[in-house]
């Protein structure tokens, strides 16, 4: 595949917009990490008594590190099995109702982690309204099975499986049909084709999905907070969170030190991923999708899928709904005491609900849009004009996403508490600081699909346009942008849906009037108002489901594969 060195880059003025772009990316993405590093380093320099060494010497640090790695790895394996498995089923077989399965499967990713944890907890404890209804609730005082390392890994795996799914599916959609047909001609059975052809060809998609799932699990806060802390099982993000509770003046330095450790691990993971992905993926025109015939096994497979979806999605949501309808926590749900008072209260009395909704929508839409605008040229530049510098920058992009949200929030506070020079606008305490944190954090989420799409863009397509007489601008308008648009839109969607129920970053950056939906749920749960929290969670899920449906309808006008749950 040709990767043309565009001769027009000789033009000096073009260099400027590249530099400008890189500068913006740097400011948004790298600056918080640097500020944090500076904070930690100033501490190391302070010598042996400094909190950095203290942190390194504490066994709690290493224990939490081990816990982080362990649960993240387990979660990644589960996410791979679920996500890649479903991607193969959906993309490669003739299973019916594909849009439905994809929709149901993507839903867990869109649900805030603390809501996920909440719903599973409602499902499994002795107080489970659903289990009580069914008469199979465990006895009073039985330990909550989810308060454990595997509980954390299980929920994180389910939460992040859609990330793997998206990554592998993208790969599978552009699998050249001819290759598989060639294998068939040589007599390969469907099974062998899977093994010899398809697995190796989407290795990149699988590895990329695994990497992003691992990094997500590493930085996940909501689930380990709700499931791990009660069992005194700490991972690095929750350890950091706990350290923040110690509000002596050394706190910021210690937190910076711990987050440097997380950052290093995340960087290692990201570096490994980049090494593996440095091989060029396959070029293919998105053609007709493959469809292995499952024959008699089809019904069985569909039922198995249905069972899995029921287990990982339907049951917890039912539990959540049940918990939102009880008059008070712990009361068993019966036909005579169904109460919608929680919903009434959240929607009518608490101005906070609507405020949080507006804030979340505003922040997510803005972040998603701005990022889409930034990553398109960035992907173009880094692929068409690859330089060592860019490869390094690309690695750095992942850092704000890998860092626990708590840490990024602190970095942003340190950066922005004073008004910006010259402009004299203070971002602190406004939505602006949260927006900035979102831009920093989700840049890589927006970038990855566009980058992957760019890598697969045959350079000849642009060259052909050049020969037709198209200038750089025209080429961008007519060729590059339309072909990248689906990926950019996918990135937009992903950022939007993740940001709309984001918690950990906004948990520290929100201030009066600037709550987000995630913060709303978390605060309610924190204050023991579980019924209210459940009610708002159900509303959030409904809103997200509606959004996903609406996008599916809009997706008629978009090329195939953009909206994953549309076929």
């Amino acid at each position: 595949m040709s990767n043309p060195q565009l001769s027009s880059f000789r033009n000096e003025t073009r260099q400027w917009w590249v530099l400008g772009l890189l500068l913006i990316i740097f400011l948004v993405n790298v600056l918080p990490s640097l500020r944090l590093l500076a904070e930690a380093l100033s501490d190391i320099v302070a010598g042996e008594k400094s909190s950095f060494w203290k942190v390194l010497k504490t066994s709690a640090t290493w224990q939490a590190t081990w816990h982080s790695l362990y649960t993240s790895l387990l979660a990644t394996v589960l996410a791979l099995v679920l996500g890649a498995g479903l991607a193969f089923f959906i993309a490669l077989t003739n299973i019916r109702g594909k849009s439905f399965w994809v929709f149901m499967f993507m839903l867990p990713m869109m649900i805030p982690p603390q809501v996920t944890a909440l719903s599973w907890l409602q499902l499994m404890g002795p107080g489970s309204a659903l289990l009580q209804l069914l008469g199979i609730a465990p006895a009073l005082g039985s330990p909550q099975p989810l308060y454990s390392d595997w509980g954390i890994a299980l929920l994180m795996g389910i939460q992040h499986a859609p990330l793997v799914f998206l990554s592998v599916r993208t790969n599978l959609l552009v699998l050249p049909k001819e290759l598989v047909e060639a294998a068939r001609l040589s007599g390969a059975s469907q099974y062998r084709i899977m093994l010899d052809m398809i697995f190796p060809l989407c290795k990149n998609g699988i590895l990329a999905g695994a990497a992003i799932a691992f990094v997500s699990a590493l930085g996940n806060f909501g689930i380990p907070a709700m499931l791990g802390i009660p069992a005194s099982y700490y991972v690095l993000p929750t350890l950091i969170y706990q350290k923040m509770a110690d509000f002596g003046p050394l706190m910021l330095n210690e937190v910076s030190s711990l987050s440097v450790i997380v950052g290093v691990i995340a960087m290692l993971g990201v570096w490994v991923q980049h090494r593996i992905q440095s091989r060029m993926p396959l070029v293919g025109m998105p053609g007709k999708p493959l469809a292995f015939d499952l024959g008699k096994a089809r019904i069985g497979c569909e039922m198995a899928l249905g069972l899995i979806i029921t287990l990982i999605l339907v049951l917890p949501i039912l539990a959540l709904v049940a918990s939102s309808l009880v008059p008070a926590i712990g009361v068993s749900l019966g036909y005579d005491n169904i109460s919608f008072s929680a919903y009434a209260h959240m929607l009518a009395r608490q101005g906070a609900t609507w405020r949080a909704f507006e804030n979340s929508m505003l922040l997510s839409l803005s972040a998603a849009f701005i990022l889409a605008c930034l990553v398109l040229p960035l992907a173009y530049v880094t692929v068409r004009r690859p330089r060592r510098l860019y490869a390094f920058v690309l690695m750095l992009l992942d850092v704000p996403y890998a860092l626990p949200g708590v840490v990024l929030a602190i970095a942003c506070i340190l950066l922005f508490a004073k008004p910006l020079p010259v402009l004299q606008i203070s971002l602190y305490g406004s939505l602006g600081i949260i927006l900035f944190a979102y831009l920093s954090r989700f840049l890589t989420v927006s970038f990855k699909p566009v980058h992957a799409s760019m890598l697969q863009l045959d350079g000849a397509l642009e060259e052909a346009a050049q020969l037709c007489g198209a200038s750089m601008v025209r080429r961008w308008r007519d060729i590059v942008f339309p072909l990248l648009a689906p990926a950019a839109f996918a990135g937009f969607l992903l950022v939007f849906l993740i940001a709309v129920n984001e918690l950990t970053v906004s948990a520290l950056l929100w201030s009066a009037g600037n709550e987000t939906l995630g913060v709303l749920v978390f605060n309610l749960e924190d204050g023991g108002e579980t019924v209210l929290a459940s009610a708002i969670s159900v509303l959030i899920i409904m809103m997200i489901a509606l959004l996903m449906l609406a996008l599916g309808i809009v997706g008629r006008n978009l090329p195939k594969g953009v909206i994953p749950w549309r076929n």
Partner: protein, 324 residues
């Protein structure tokens, strides 16, 4: 496409400019539950038309983190604090962060409940006692009951690393020769688990995951009134107490409004509101909410605020070592 660009640009502009809106508002940092905070703010705004209160609600310790980060960066946002415990405020007073205000309302309060220099005033009496599930096998009556074998692995507690009230509780018990650190070590051996704030303990007890718990009084009593299967017990040895004091920040940009707020929460209407919310009002001569015993009947464990302040760091560390 154009419309979208325009509307988003407009939104972005709005975001940036909302940042600089300081206006005539009072900013309150509180650790009260959200519903209660909303009620308090609504009542204050009603009593003082033309004012707006923006409130930030979070656990005491998280709130302090916010505050510290802001101070480290040289920016302080809140005007008034209404947080769980006085030890925290004592610390802030020592660091010179609070402003003194001799409120006239203090005449109606027991001197033990407010700072003699007027830096902070207790607004409620929140005790920490034992809560248990209505269907729990045992009915605990004393703190030491929690150490019995019947309670193994069945007890939940709030963590002083999150909750100010829990920190006071820890300091109270560990300074008490009847309990000391041994009590907590025994709790640990008996499988007690440390959760987050009081809210998490409420959830654990009412849902039956941990049938027994250490919990703030109003939480259990309030939920019981709504029909939740939870009971509250004032242990025989006595309870620890936090007063959810209110204080004014020295660098507040609205000192007059802040003082009005302090006066309001300490006034009779303000304390009446506290009563309605289901707390024990701190003011003399107020009724007690349904489900509570008379004030005189509540036995308090002895508590030395100064000592608690000194040992708070060590207490947190000690707890952390035990339970993490």
């Amino acid at each position: 496409m154009n419309f979208r660009v325009l509307s988003v640009s407009a939104m972005l502009a709005g975001v940036v400019f909302s940042a600089s809106l300081q206006a005539e508002t009072l900013v309150l940092y509180t650790s009260q539950p959200a519903q209660d905070a909303q009620m308090t703010v609504d009542a204050f705004e009603k009593a003082n038309p033309g004012t707006t209160v923006e409130w930030v609600r979070d656990g005491t310790t998280k709130l302090m983190t916010k505050l510290r980060a802001e101070m480290a960066a040289g920016v302080v946002k809140p005007d008034v604090l209404l947080i769980a415990d006085s030890v925290t405020l004592e610390q802030l007073k020592k660091e010179g962060i609070l402003a003194a205000y001799p409120s006239a309302e203090s005449a109606e309060y027991d001197p033990a409940l407010f700072d003699k220099d007027g830096y902070y005033y207790g607004t409620k009496l929140i005790t920490t006692g034992i809560a248990h599930h209505a269907n729990a096998k045992e009915k605990p009556a004393a703190w030491k009951d929690l150490l019995k074998p019947e309670y193994k692995n069945q007890v939940a507690m709030p963590s002083p690393l999150y909750s100010g009230a829990a920190l006071i509780h820890l300091s109270t018990l560990t300074a008490n020769p009847d309990f000391a650190w041994e009590f907590y070590e025994n709790l640990k051996e008996n499988g007690a688990s440390a959760l987050k704030g009081n809210g998490s303990v409420l959830t654990a007890v009412a849902s039956g995951t941990s049938p027994y718990g250490v919990l703030a009084d109003y939480m259990a009593i309030r939920e019981k009134a709504k029909g939740a299967p939870i009971e509250f017990v004032f242990p025989t040895e006595g309870v620890s107490l936090v007063t959810e004091p209110v204080a004014i920040m020295k660098d507040s940009k609205q000192p007059a409004l802040a003082r009005k707020f302090v006066d309001f929460v300490l006034s009779e209407p303000g304390q009446q509101l506290v009563l309605e919310q289901g707390y024990l009002p701190a003011r003399n001569g107020m009724k007690t909410p349904a489900g509570f015993p008379e004030r005189s009947q509540i036995k308090l464990l002895p508590f030395d605020a100064a000592k608690a302040l000194e040992s708070s760091g060590k207490d947190k560390e000690g707890f952390s070592k035990l339970f993490n």
